[in-house]
């Protein structure tokens, strides 16, 4: 009796789960075949994917990289016994034209300039995007880069960007001097006036004088020679970088208690948002031309960049306003109770939170803007889509559609996907767990 016990004293050893619940089979049972309906959906989806790939992959795997014309591609494919409308891609067009699709009509011996500018762009963005991994001093380079980049792309004398930067220095010193003598509002006005006078009136002669003494600079490349992805990226980057601060200012202006400021901001935002981008581009390309006196050389790319920036800024303002509206009123009151003035409160308390909330919206505005740059092909600028039409108008490549569009789509996807992934990284990084 003593050696009988009804209560188990030791646990059974753990057994491996059944084969149908682990590994790949378990995963498939759980995720793909968890019921008759889901099983049907899975099979239908697999069939669909197979059907698409069975057409696309053989088409893409096509030994036509060295082909010199569409007819040549067809000969190569016919030799392999592949005939018909969808027998294979003609990649020769990409081999022959990819450089043109990247740089447009930029002089080949100067390709290093846009490439270097593009690399430096990431150096300049690093302190903004990945602040914790790079030295803080690099932010000075980021501040100078907006003046450096146009000079590298368009060329000209080195005194141009220096003189433009000097305008800011002049404004600063004027502000300091007048501030101590008269007061801050007068100083602000004086600084703006001084900078504008410098840029519009004095800058030309001073630059001419300096460059005649020390002729230092790059060969000039005219805007007409810009094209392809370089054009898209230039328009996109400048518009993105400028539209964010502009959008923040507009959003704050819209929330402001100052009636005139508010009216201007609301009017601007609603007007720009009420007009399609293509209309603004037509205004830039044709209407401005008619209103400006003949012979005024107001650069077409600059006009387009300005329009794209204004357009994007209006949307950005609304996205940021959404972030501002999402902040509890207590945050504003808390800032007030700490005795912060308006700008301190915005900088230290409101904006960091509002911008964090708005990150997904901001980035999707950026992505939208970047893709919208392809609209410039309608006003005759040769961005990738515009160039693809020119390439098809080459008798050798007339009739090629998918290869070119595929290449362009891949490029845009890489950029937009990159932006999207970065925004997700940023959201995770800034996640403070108070949600």
């Amino acid at each position: 009796m003593s050696d009988l016990s009804y209560v188990r004293t030791e646990m059974l050893p753990e057994q491996a789960p059944p084969a149908t619940a682990v590994g790949i089979i378990g995963w498939m049972r759980e995720n793909l075949f968890s019921g008759w309906f889901n099983s049907i959906l899975t099979i239908a989806a697999v069939l669909f994917i197979y059907m698409v790939l069975s057409i696309v992959v053989p088409w893409m795997v096509s030994p036509t990289w060295e082909a010199t014309s569409l007819a040549n591609c067809r000969e190569i494919l016919a030799e392999l016994g592949r005939e018909g409308h969808f027998s294979g891609a003609c990649w020769g067009v990409i081999r022959e034209r990819w450089i043109q699709l990247l740089f447009g009509f930029y002089p080949p011996e100067l390709y290093w300039r846009p490439i270097l500018a593009f690399v430096l762009l990431f150096v300049a963005l690093a302190p903004v995007l990945f602040a914790e991994y790079v030295p803080r001093k690099l932010i000075w380079f980021s501040a100078l880069f907006p003046f450096l980049m146009p000079w590298m792309l368009w060329g000209g004398t080195v005194w141009n960007p220096i003189a433009v930067v000097a305008g800011f220095a002049i404004a600063y010193f004027v502000y300091k001097a007048v501030d101590t003598a008269v007061g801050s509002i007068a100083a602000m006005i004086a600084a703006v006036v001084a900078a504008i006078v410098w840029w519009l009136v004095l800058l030309g002669p001073v630059v001419a004088g300096l460059s005649s003494i020390i002729p230092l600079g790059f060969e000039v490349v005219e805007s007409r020679q810009f094209g392809g992805f370089m054009l898209s990226i230039t328009i996109g980057i400048v518009a993105i970088v400028v539209s964010l601060p502009l959008g923040v200012v507009l959003a704050l202006g819209r929330q402001s208690d100052l009636m005139i400021v508010k009216a201007i901001c609301v009017g601007f935002i609603e007007f720009i948002r009420g007009v399609p981008l293509i209309t603004l581009l037509f205004v830039a390309s044709t209407l401005l031309n008619i209103f400006l006196p003949p012979g005024t050389n107001f650069d077409i790319i600059l006009r387009v960049i300005i329009m794209a920036t204004l357009f994007s800024a209006a949307y950005m303002a609304e996205v940021v306003r959404g972030g501002l509206a999402a902040l509890p009123k207590g945050q504003y009151e808390g800032a007030d109770s700490l005795g912060l003035n308006y700008w301190q409160a915005q900088r230290l308390i409101i904006m960091p939170q509002a911008l964090k909330i708005s990150i997904p919206g901001i980035v999707s505005s950026f992505i939208g803007l970047f893709k919208d740059t392809t609209l410039v092909s309608i006003i005759g600028l040769l961005d990738p889509l515009g160039l693809s039409q020119g390439i098809r108008a080459d008798a050798n490549w007339n009739g090629i559609v998918w290869e070119l569009y595929g290449f362009i789509a891949l490029f845009f996807f890489v950029f937009c996907f990159g932006m999207s992934r970065y925004s997700m990284y940023l959201e995770r990084k800034l996640q403070t767990g108070h949600r």
């Binding site: 044709t286 003949p294 012979g295 005024t296 309608i378 098809r392 108008a393 008798a395 007339n398 009739g399």
Partner: protein, 339 residues
Amino acid sequence: MKKSVFLGALTAAGLAAGAAAAGTLDDVKARGKLNCGVTTGVVGFGAPDANGEWQGFDVGVCRAVAAAVLGDASAVEFVPTTGKTRFTALASGEIDMLARNTTWTFSRDVDLKFTFVGVNYYDGQGFMVPKELGVSSATELDGATVCIQTGTTTELNLADYFRSNNISYEPVPIETNAEAQQQYLAGACDVYTTDASGLAATRSAFEDPTAHVLLPEIISKEPLGPLVRHGDNEWGDVVRWTLNALIAAEEVGINSANIGDLSAAPGNNPEINRILGTEGNLGEMLGLSADWAKNAIMAGGNYGELFEKNIGENTPVGLARGLNAQWTNGGLLYSPPFR
């Protein structure tokens, strides 16, 4: 300085536009470059090649004008224009001339205030159908679906033609020629209609061009030519007579092979001498150098050479001279005399 002009003139822009439009020739000479509006891409007529050099039949006219005015066929700034921007680009002075397969019509000439200086290609709207359809005439197209580019004169011509022949059709609107090719090949429409030169170029790109036929009917007149702004007749004369020089050169037998000999010394054909500037002072009357026409012809050859090189029968486009032959060969090319 430029900025202050800019600000001041902004207020009186309309006036300034009218006043400064005179003197394009001087502007071009001062600038050292001709701003020539071209298409963003039409097979054979204008497109950038792999090196970014513009090539084509219309582009050849631009180069000839640049050579005549500036003595340098490469002194051209090609400004790509679309169907929507071409006329404002010219009217606003962004370009000096437009050579972009543009049809000479009454309203463009009169209402839009342009001067068409001549015709460099006589085109007309045609039809292309698959051979297997068994159609041999456009009058048999009753009930057909027709791919047609929207917003062009071809759309209106088509409606007129079918109405006057009392037959029906179903339009399939498309935006670009590339789209039309895809739609037509995919069978979305039975017929594709556009300018006959465009049809020939499109068909030449097909996998099997012989499976498609161009119907004999040409249902519209599409005289394509270079144009300039109204109100600057000196500049209009320069462009007009440069085009005429190319045409006349073919007629009298000047080509890029023999032009060196012919222009070296006056020969015994007085018209050749006058064109090439070895006799008379035609260049001076235009405000150009004596060898203006010689430079223009040397830029890309005479009219016939330009035609053969870009759109002629030995090119993929493969167009016959047809209406674009010299009047002596039964065509419509007829340059007024150089006298």
